[in-house]
């Protein structure tokens, strides 16, 4: 991917926040929240979030129900706008989608074949034979190339989420926002999906933001774990464990303990 410069700034306050140079190891940034606040009526959901995520980083966002982590994701995906503060996105490359969203449910169109569902991820990017070829390629990567022309209703829950993952990734996004997409899967399918997600992320190097309840999942997958509590970032923790990571290793367990202490301490 060619280097993206920092050009698009979405500002939501009367006085625009001056864009500061991104500070990150790769020298470029996927997105940054600066003093982002989100209120629904009197209820403050996000209360001054500052979060700078370099391109290609895998961030897990953890918090109890109602802490505002899903709202954070919706802001990132442009489904909602901050009440104040600014959200800065790195510039997108030509022919790529910028941010893609993976929902808790697969949300496949039941009346479209598997490959047509993946092509939805190329809306406005590619069409026709080109779109089909790209969709088939990414289906191969998630291991469903042979199911391309079937209806979604005949797939299992895990397979449906794999199609949804293919749909999210087919446009080669800079940012992939994941809203507990593995929450409804059984434990074994879940681990399989985590490994698939990690493998594709390592290959494509998009910035991933995974909202999850599962602390073990967070430390197994992420470079960085952000704990949100009462609308603020309560903990911002690097996960300095080399990949491939071994599930249940002492290093991961220690990190898990730190995070759980912060959540319930």
């Amino acid at each position: 991917m060619p280097a993206a410069s920092l050009t698009s700034v979405r500002s939501f306050v009367a006085a625009p926040v001056p864009a500061r140079p991104a500070i990150s190891v790769e020298g470029r940034r996927a997105f940054a929240f600066k003093g982002v606040e989100k209120r629904f009526g009197d209820k403050i959901v996000l209360d001054g979030i500052d979060l700078d995520v370099p391109a290609g980083q895998f961030v897990a966002v953890i918090g109890k129900s109602g802490c505002g982590k899903s709202t954070l994701l919706r802001l990132l995906a442009g489904l909602d706008r901050p009440t104040s503060g600014s959200l800065t996105l790195g510039a997108g490359d030509e022919g790529h989608s910028h941010t893609r969203f993976m929902f808790q449910e697969p949300r496949l169109l039941p009346w479209a074949s598997v490959v047509k569902n993946v092509e939805v991820g190329l809306t406005g990017i590619a069409a026709g034979q080109d779109a089909r070829q790209r969709a088939l390629d990414i289906l191969g990567e998630v291991g469903l190339a042979d199911r391309a022309d079937e209806w979604p209703s005949v797939l299992s829950g895990g397979q449906k989420q794999r199609v949804a993952l293919a749909r999210a990734l087919v446009g080669q996004p800079q940012i992939l926002a994941l809203d507990e997409p593995l929450g409804a899967l059984d434990a074994l399918t879940r681990i399989e999906m985590q490994q698939l997600l990690e493998r594709i992320w390592l290959a494509q190097k998009f910035a991933a933001v995974l909202v999850t309840h599962d602390v073990a999942e967070a430390v197994a997958l992420a470079d960085r774990v952000v704990v949100i509590s009462a609308g603020r970032i309560a903990l911002d923790l690097e996960v300095p464990v080399a990949r491939p990571r071994r599930r249940g290793s002492a290093a991961l367990a220690r990190l898990e303990g730190t995070i759980l202490d912060r959540l319930f301490g």
Partner: protein
């Protein structure tokens, strides 16, 4: 299901009608059923032959079918358009739905005296009644179909960058289609019912007219023949709708293996 298996499943549906006709023929031959109450199936078949040869039957069926389809096209397209408009636009729904629901509760056949006063016994009268009868099932089910489209899928479409047109064609319309087909099949039933009633009361051609003429001349075999033809035409229309349904709803779990 293979073709022959499907044929078998369809054949089962015809066992009962054939048995009824056989029993009826036997009863007539044995004299248990007087011919002036109900003529034997063979007599009805003779009437069928006679009217086919004279061309009268084909002409009347053609006239009735043309009326039915014209009325269906008018009422169905208005119902479909309004159903879409009211499903997609809150303003349009607010403006028209209350009125339409009030009109819906008037049995459309109760308007026959008024319709005769307005249009006489011309073609317009029958078209108007059929169109009105067909309008509501199509309207109500199109509206229901659009309102019941999964909002999560609509949100997905928006997030993935579909514009309004793509959202409608790829998410909303396919999602509403099963309900629209329910409306279509219901409307086809109402279409025949309305037309026959209208033709029976006021017409100078068509199947309903043929049956009424036959009654005047006490040709009870022709009356029975007309009634049987209604049954066949109704079944034909329903089968066509089901075929369309199977072709366009192949994705629906209810139509797989079917």
């Amino acid at each position: 299901m293979s073709f022959s298996a499907r044929l078998q499943a369809n054949a089962i549906g015809w066992v009962l009608p054939v048995l009824v006709i056989a029993g009826w023929e036997a009863a007539s031959r044995a004299g248990a059923m007087p011919a002036n109450v109900l003529p034997a199936p063979s007599a009805v078949a003779e009437a069928l032959w006679r009217l086919t040869l004279s061309g009268e039957l084909i002409r009347n069926i053609a006239v009735s079918t043309a009326r039915a389809l014209a009325g269906f096209a008018i009422g169905g397209s208005i119902g479909f358009a309004l159903g879409l408009a009211n499903g997609l636009s809150r303003l349009s729904r607010g403006l028209t739905d209350t009125t339409l629901q009030m009109i819906r509760n008037i049995p459309h056949l109760a308007l026959i005296p008024l319709v005769i006063l307005w249009f006489g016994i011309d073609e317009e009268a029958k078209l108007f009644l059929v169109a009105l009868g067909v309008f509501f099932p199509i309207y109500v089910n199109t509206l229901l179909g659009i309102q019941s489209v999964d909002p999560q899928l609509v949100e997905m479409g928006r997030v993935y960058g579909m514009d309004r047109r793509a959202l409608f064609l790829r998410v909303v319309l396919p999602g509403a289609l099963p309900a629209i087909f329910v409306g279509l099949r219901y409307a086809l039933g109402i279409m025949w019912l309305t037309l026959i009633v209208a033709e029976t009361i006021s017409a100078s051609s068509g199947l309903g007219y043929m049956a009424m003429q036959a009654r005047e001349f006490l040709l009870i075999d022709v009356v029975v023949l007309s009634i049987l033809i209604y049954a066949l035409l109704g079944k034909l229309a329903d089968s066509l709708a089901r075929l369309l349904e199977r072709l366009s709803l192949g994705w629906h779990p209810a139509f797989q293996n079917g």
